[in-house]
């Protein structure tokens, strides 16, 4: 955990503000993520954690402050956000697989159209990833035929097919039936073990404890407390964090 922090941060978030109408969703947020670091963001709903995550790849546009990914200012007009996004894989709560494409096509579409891979190359890459997430036998079915857990694993594989440097997870297990949460978390743990830089918004405290290098607790659009999972879960300092942990643990 400590050695990775010496490198230059791969994501820097500086004094970021975001408003929804009059309501501040993010208030002066600062955060650095080092390459290879696993950051887990927890907090009550409406605390701004998803907004913060979605701001990193500009699905939400921030109103003030600066976000840099691999040194590039994502809000600067001279930087092509579509190129930056190729390096930021994202996994959504609702999976958002393309229902009109087969599982394999979901994985090959972006590499073929955006990276210029041939169909064979893209399919080879896709089949490798499907094997990794444990659903190689479903390559040619449509997403509607899959369970929620399987769909989410395909969604992770789809994001990985672009070979991003960073993976963003937005409550990836919140829409799943309880018995399917494990299979998705397993894939994420495997990914973490391979050294992928991950920023993950989740309600899975067990996952946060085992995988995170650093936990961030957010409330009312602010980072209230951060530190190692051990420190956060076992000796919370801030009363709001204590209250939150009492409710979820």
């Amino acid at each position: 955990m400590t050695e990775s922090k010496t490198a230059a941060p791969i994501i820097t978030i500086r004094n970021v503000w975001k408003y929804f109408g009059q309501l501040p969703a993010l208030q002066d947020v600062n955060l650095d993520v080092a390459s290879g670091e696993r950051v887990v963001i927890i907090g009550p709903s409406g605390s701004g954690k998803s907004t913060l995550l979605r701001s990193i790849n500009r699905l939400e546009e921030i109103d003030k402050g600066e976000i840099r990914v691999q040194g590039q200012d994502i809000m600067a007009p001279e930087n092509d956000i579509n190129l930056i996004r190729r390096n930021l894989g994202m996994v959504f709560q609702q999976f958002n697989l393309f229902p009109h494409k087969t599982v394999l096509q979901n994985l090959t579409m972006a590499p073929i159209k955006l990276l210029g891979l041939s169909r064979e190359e893209a399919e080879q890459r896709a089949l490798g990833l499907l094997k990794k997430v444990g659903i190689s036998d479903k390559a040619n079915v449509y997403p509607a035929m899959l369970s929620g857990g399987q769909q989410q694993r395909v969604a992770i594989a789809r994001a990985l097919a672009m070979q991003p440097a960073i993976m963003l997870f937005d409550e990836p297990t919140s829409a799943l039936d309880p018995e399917m949460v494990g299979e998705v978390l397993d894939v994420m743990v495997k990914l973490a073990e391979e050294g992928m830089t991950m920023v993950c918004v989740t309600h899975e405290m067990g996952f946060a404890r085992t995988v995170a290098d650093r936990c961030i607790f957010m409330d009312h659009g602010q980072i209230v407390e951060q530190g190692s999972p051990d420190a956060l879960f076992n000796s919370p300092r801030h009363p709001r964090l204590r209250q939150f942990l009492n409710q979820v643990l």
């Binding site: 699905l59 579509n82 994202m90 393309f98 009109h100 579409m109 972006a110 035929m145």
Partner: protein
């Protein structure tokens, strides 16, 4: 069927039709509204021609090859112009560019406020001040402009019915706005759009009867000129009604078959 809880993966099916003139593709019973109407129309036509060949067969032979072909020609040409126009209008209506948005919206508002019959007259006389246009050309232009506006609304509704998560997923992979629309949103929206667009096309076929007033020799115009010499009003319009009905029913079945083909990824 393993998955039940997630509605997003099923490609949201939202009905945006104004009425069910397209037969339900899942309707498997032999006797339904569509088959009764078609069988009845064909039986009536045959019966009239068999038992009273005197006026009816003569009427039919006067109308059939040429009038129907002209009606089809005008319909097909108008569809070829109106569908792309509708797509462009629909995209314009959801554009974030204020100028394009206003342009598309104004077009829709103006066209929807003027009866098609008036538009057909107006475009003919407006164009003929500058060009030498045939009645057929101006009719196709008028119908295309009119239906382009209506279809624009259908395209707009169909595109907006696709969940935001779909375009967010595409954008997060690095697709730009344009690629997202054409690779991800439109292919899915098409399924919502097809039934109402099919309805519009069928309505268009019926509305081509209006061009008969421009002396375009379509089905309706043939009937009118036949009536002009024989005074067989009731008999002629009976045949005309039956012919329009049969064509319309067959077309609505075609749309229905296309619709069921588009449901391939439902997992049903």
């Amino acid at each position: 069927m393993p998955n039940t809880e997630n509605s997003h993966s099923k490609g949201n099916i939202v009905m945006v039709t104004d009425g069910a003139s397209i037969p339900d593709p899942r309707e498997s019973r032999l006797i339904n509204a569509w088959s009764i109407a078609l069988a009845g129309a064909i039986a009536a036509l045959l019966a009239l021609c068999l038992f009273w060949p005197e006026p009816y067969r003569e009427i039919l032979s006067y109308l059939l090859p040429d009038g129907v072909l002209i009606t089809f020609k005008i319909t097909v040409l108008s569809i070829c112009c109106a569908v792309p126009l509708g797509l462009v209008t629909g995209l314009g209506r959801i554009s974030r560019n204020r100028f394009i948005n206003l342009l598309a919206s104004t077009y829709v508002e103006v066209i929807r406020g003027i009866p098609l019959l008036v538009q057909i007259f107006y475009i003919y006389y407006a164009l003929s001040r500058f060009f030498l246009v045939s009645g057929t050309t101006s009719a196709v232009i008028a119908i295309s402009f009119c239906y382009g506006a209506y279809m624009g609304e259908v395209f707009r509704a169909g595109i907006l019915a696709i969940s935001k998560g779909q375009s967010e997923a595409a954008r997060s992979l690095g697709f730009n706005r344009f690629q997202t629309m054409f690779y991800v949103v439109l292919p899915q929206a098409w399924r919502t759009i097809l039934p109402p667009v099919g309805n519009e096309c069928i309505a268009m076929l019926k509305d081509t009867s209006l061009v008969s007033i421009m002396a375009v020799p379509d089905l309706m115009h043939c009937a009118r000129s036949f009536v002009g010499t024989t005074y067989l009003y009731f008999e002629t319009y009976t045949i005309i009604a039956l012919i329009y009905l049969i064509i319309t029913l067959i077309l609505s079945k075609c749309v229905s078959i296309m619709e069921s083909r588009l449901n391939y990824y439902d997992g049903k």
